[in-house]
């Protein structure tokens, strides 16, 4: 297999699935590990690729770290897990919570372990008989903003990827119902809607949510798994204006030095604050001797990423800051084309969602009749693609070679 891969790598980009001599190779990469599945048939590629991702997830839950060493140290348990997770090429149980109930690190005597009812239950994600002294639910509404700004400063693509994450510490088999300010639901029920309602474009639910029920009357009802899980995710492609605006100008004197001026602005309400803002600005690979001057925060050079990072612990709304950077360039010219990587930004804004989504209620019903209080937190952060192409050359050193 490594031979095949190397061979492929030389000629064409390796795709996650390819076929060779009648055998199909499907693989994913996790850090420096390849997880590979083989098939001689026209298998369900999506299912298998997803299973490999799930497998990686379960192994991480078990060993904290998934790397060559943890595999070597734990091969016995990995065999056990594989045996339980996949049978005859068909995925079986992949819920790590449930697996942990009967496949454990320490070996047990036979009498102790039995297959948890949950494995085959309609509710395959929760075991019975869970007890908590204090019944609590924590809800985190996390919105990740993906956004792309072109060189002239207009937003050409933006989306909000939202997720409702839960930490559930409830006894027994509780029935939960979640109410959001979902526009479609308000319309369906004809309820007067106070304040803002939002229209989610695509909603995905954890397998515990009753999909048919949601389809009928937009009610999100479910029996939650125990502990931490992602209840739902949603997507909105309503236009978002950049919450954090960055622009940079570059003065490139090829063969001697390059200078940057970076401006950042918090374009959100004055009373909010963005935490842990990190701005990545790309510099030429061969830049050296960095000098920085920033009006706020700190700047570090990250040569391994060919970039410098401007870190600002707290950025207030409607505030604006400047920084300057200066690099030396080797006098021998690099003939390669400049890569013009966009500026990327990381940030977190607590107590705030861009979409305006709100949790209206979370009802918990359980036979024992206990009461529990949900805690809700909101946070907005950068997605994996919050980029701005707003790097302008102030002095264009001739890219076009003289004729």
């Amino acid at each position: 297999m490594p031979l095949v891969l190397e061979m492929e790598e030389e000629n064409i980009p390796v795709t996650p699935c390819f076929s060779s001599e009648g055998i199909n190779y499907m693989h994913i990469r996790h850090n420096n590990l390849y997880l590979l599945a083989l098939s001689k048939r026209n298998s369900n590629a999506v299912e298998i690729i997803l299973f490999l991702h799930r497998l990686a997830g379960v192994l991480i839950e078990y060993f904290k770290e998934l790397e060559e060493e943890s595999i070597r140290d734990n091969f016995v348990i990995i065999y056990e897990l594989l045996d339980e997770m996949m049978d005859f090429g068909y995925p079986q149980t992949t819920e790590s919570k449930i697996l942990q109930e009967y496949i454990t690190q320490e070996s047990h005597k036979l009498e102790v372990i039995r297959p948890p009812v949950a494995v085959t239950n309609a509710v395959s994600w929760r075991s019975e008989g869970i007890r908590y002294r204090k019944n609590e639910v924590f809800l985190d509404v996390v919105e990740s903003v993906n956004l792309l700004v072109n060189a002239s400063g207009t937003v050409i693509r933006s989306e909000i990827l939202g997720a409702v994450k839960m930490k559930c510490y409830l006894s027994g088999m509780p029935e939960l119902r979640l109410g959001l300010n979902d526009k479609v639901m308000f319309e369906n029920t004809g309820r007067a809607n106070r304040g803002k309602s939002i229209e989610m474009e695509d909603v995905k639910f954890h397998q515990c949510v009753r999909l048919a029920r949601f389809e009928n009357d937009r009610t999100i009802s479910f029996i939650p798994p125990d502990g931490e899980f992602e209840l739902m995710s949603y997507r909105l492609s309503t236009p978002v204006k950049p919450l954090i605006w960055v622009e940079a100008s570059v003065e490139n004197h090829k063969g001697s030095r390059v200078e940057y001026v970076v401006k950042v602005k918090g374009q959100f309400k004055r009373r909010s604050t963005a935490n842990n803002v990190e701005i990545y600005v790309h510099v030429p690979d061969d830049a050296d001797s960095p000098k920085f001057r920033a009006s706020v925060g700190s700047v570090v050079y990250a040569p391994e990423k060919s970039a410098f990072v401007w870190k600002i612990k707290q950025l207030g709304g409607a505030k604006e800051y400047l920084m300057r950077a200066h690099f030396g360039l080797p006098s021998v010219r690099n003939d390669e084309v400049d890569k013009r990587a966009p500026i990327s930004v990381k940030f977190e804004i607590p107590y705030f969602t861009v979409s305006g989504i709100q949790v209206r209620y979370l009802k918990v019903v359980e036979k024992a009749g206990y009461s529990s209080l949900p805690w809700v937190r909101y946070i907005t952060q950068n997605g994996d693609d919050y980029t701005l192409r707003t790097i302008a050359d102030t002095k264009q050193s001739s890219i076009i070679a003289p004729l």
Binding site: R41, N42, N44, F75, Y79, A122, E159, K204, A212
Partner: protein, 767 residues
Amino acid sequence: MSRAPPRKGENFELRAELNSEYRDRRADAIKRVIANMTVGKDVSGLFPDVLKNMQTDDLEQKKLVYLYLMNYAKTQPELVILAVNTFVKDTADFNPLVRALAIRTMSTLKAEKILTYLGEPLNRCLKDDNPYVRKTAALCVAKAFELKPELCVEWGFVEMLRDLVGDGNPMVVANAVTALMDIHEAAQSMPPSRPGSPTADGESPPPSATRPSPTLFIIDPPTLSKLLLALNECSEWGRIALLNALARYKAQDDKESEHICERVMPQFQHANAAVVLGAVKVIMIHMRNVGRQELVTQLIRKMAPPLVTLVSSAPEVQWVALRNINLLLQKRPDILANEMRVFFCKYNDPPYVKVEKLDIMVRLADHRNVDTLLGELREYASEVDVDFVRKAVKAIGQTAIKIESAAGRCVQLLLDLIQTRVSYVVQEGVVVIKDIFRKYPHSYEGIIPVLCANLDDLDEPEAKASLIWIIGEYAEKIENADELLGIFLESFKEEPYAVQLQTVTAIVKLFLKKPDGSQAIVQRVLQAATKDCDNPDVRDKAYVYWRLLSTDPAAAKAVVLSVKPPISLPQTTVSATVLDELLGEISSLASVYHKPAATFIGRGRYGAEDMAKRRQDDLEDNIQEKALQTVAQGQKAENLLDFDMDEPAAMADTSISASAFANAPSGSQSASVQQALAKNPLDELMDLFATNTLTAPTTTPMATSSPSPFGMASSPASALSAASITPAPVKPDAFSGLDDFGFGAAPSKPAPKTMNSSQNDDLLGLF
């Protein structure tokens, strides 16, 4: 036990440990054995010693011993028999985990003998009280079926599986369906008799009777309602199996199809991408029968958001999803009409994702979003990944060809990019602009000087050939065309064949358009091509031109300067029937590769072995031929843009070119069609040659100056043979449209017919 026990080394030590009186030492030894096995060391010699440790109450140890057995059962079938007793005992254990484990392992052992003992325990486990055991046993039937299909039917296991579809437990239902689907697939792909396989020996009655009928798993309306009911209850993986089964169901009427679509639709909201795509598949299949237009519209509308969401999953999942989306768009381009932005490449997307996104973006381009698209493509063209940049430039060209109103903007963008003088951008740009000229002839001639200015930067054959083609095509508009072509003539001998071919054609075009002043250069190129060139295509082409020019310049004009059909961007990359087949298999490997399953796995699940064997026997097979055709077709469709139809040699140059494939299977349909069509021009050629030989001494002044080329064509028969050896490359420009007839991939004009008559007139004139 003929094998001598090891006397020293690690295995010897392990053997001692395995027989130790202390339990923990034995347990430890087993782990070491398995570790050795995992890294590929041969520990099969320890078989009997490991076997002794099978009866244990330590579950982990039991699992490891089972694992060892699974691995070595095939090589040590006699010894495995010793384990049967323990297995059978374990399948009756009080702990369901042990029962399931035992039956699961037992059915996995690839030993014929074990199988005969499997019947009774499997029967028991299928009826077990515990659903965990039942769901495990269900899959065991599929495993056993793979080894001994007759046995499964005989013992009534398949019947029992069908009963399990109505089980109260969703997981059991899911696995029963999975097993039945698996069995169904296996039965269908099973050849009538399997020679070489042990099942085919005397014991089995005539094949037609024993061979399990391909209808082992019939999904009837009662089953359907069971499936739909279980769909909302079972785990994510179970749902995938159920959706697969639903995709196979043949609806009785429109109403039922509608019902299925409505029931499946909520699955779009599932977090698991495979469930979503499974639902898409079911709906795409059953939507064909839905008559109510508003329901179809609703389904299409509901399908879009989940598909878009797939694009933000992990890169590998994303890629698989993108391949499927690409396929869906070929059938229904309207699904994601407003969603092009979603497919904008992210800076850190892996290359395979970016390429796929580019393709989809071009697919979704229309006159409303084209400006945004071009802005994006401009950005991509300045990235560092050479391959991606080239694809981006190519995408600009495709956009120009697709959207006429935006062609001007595309050309401008290409010019901007060419002016950056980045070598690979320039080269790709020239190739792409040639295609734009083919689509919109005489529209953007103003840019030709800019292209010519970059002549020195070109070093790739395709780019050079493209520029030469442009110069030849517009020779009358380019003042220094003879100079420019002269540059290529200088280095004629060193150039690749593709460039040589184009140079010959271009100079002939130049001569026909501007006869005065270019006589010398045409003479030189024909000399060089016929004398110094060792490629038959180039030589033959030059001969044909020479003959044409010397016989009848008017005919030459009609042939060489004929109007070519404009190219267009193909809607689909596969033929309509293949597309429908692939859409029925969404999320499978076939839909990811965009190839029917038969092309990459041969016959069913035994494909790999079959194909290996076939390669050995060097047998020609129908499937392979079909595969070649589809590949050729796909290639052709893709190549429409890459290759100019005028460049037969460029096509012949690339080993995987369409014409090469089409000609390879001589009996194949497309080839014969092409041959039949090619006949027409060949006849003509023969006519030409015939008249030529008759009249040569008097009508061709060139013939006297260099008689050698005519020596070969001195008799009509030999001329014909020379021409018919390589029909494709010899075809002069005017007949290039024939390629299109052969494949039906692009519209073409019936040029040869009309030409035929006009040329005959000319010939008559000669007489």
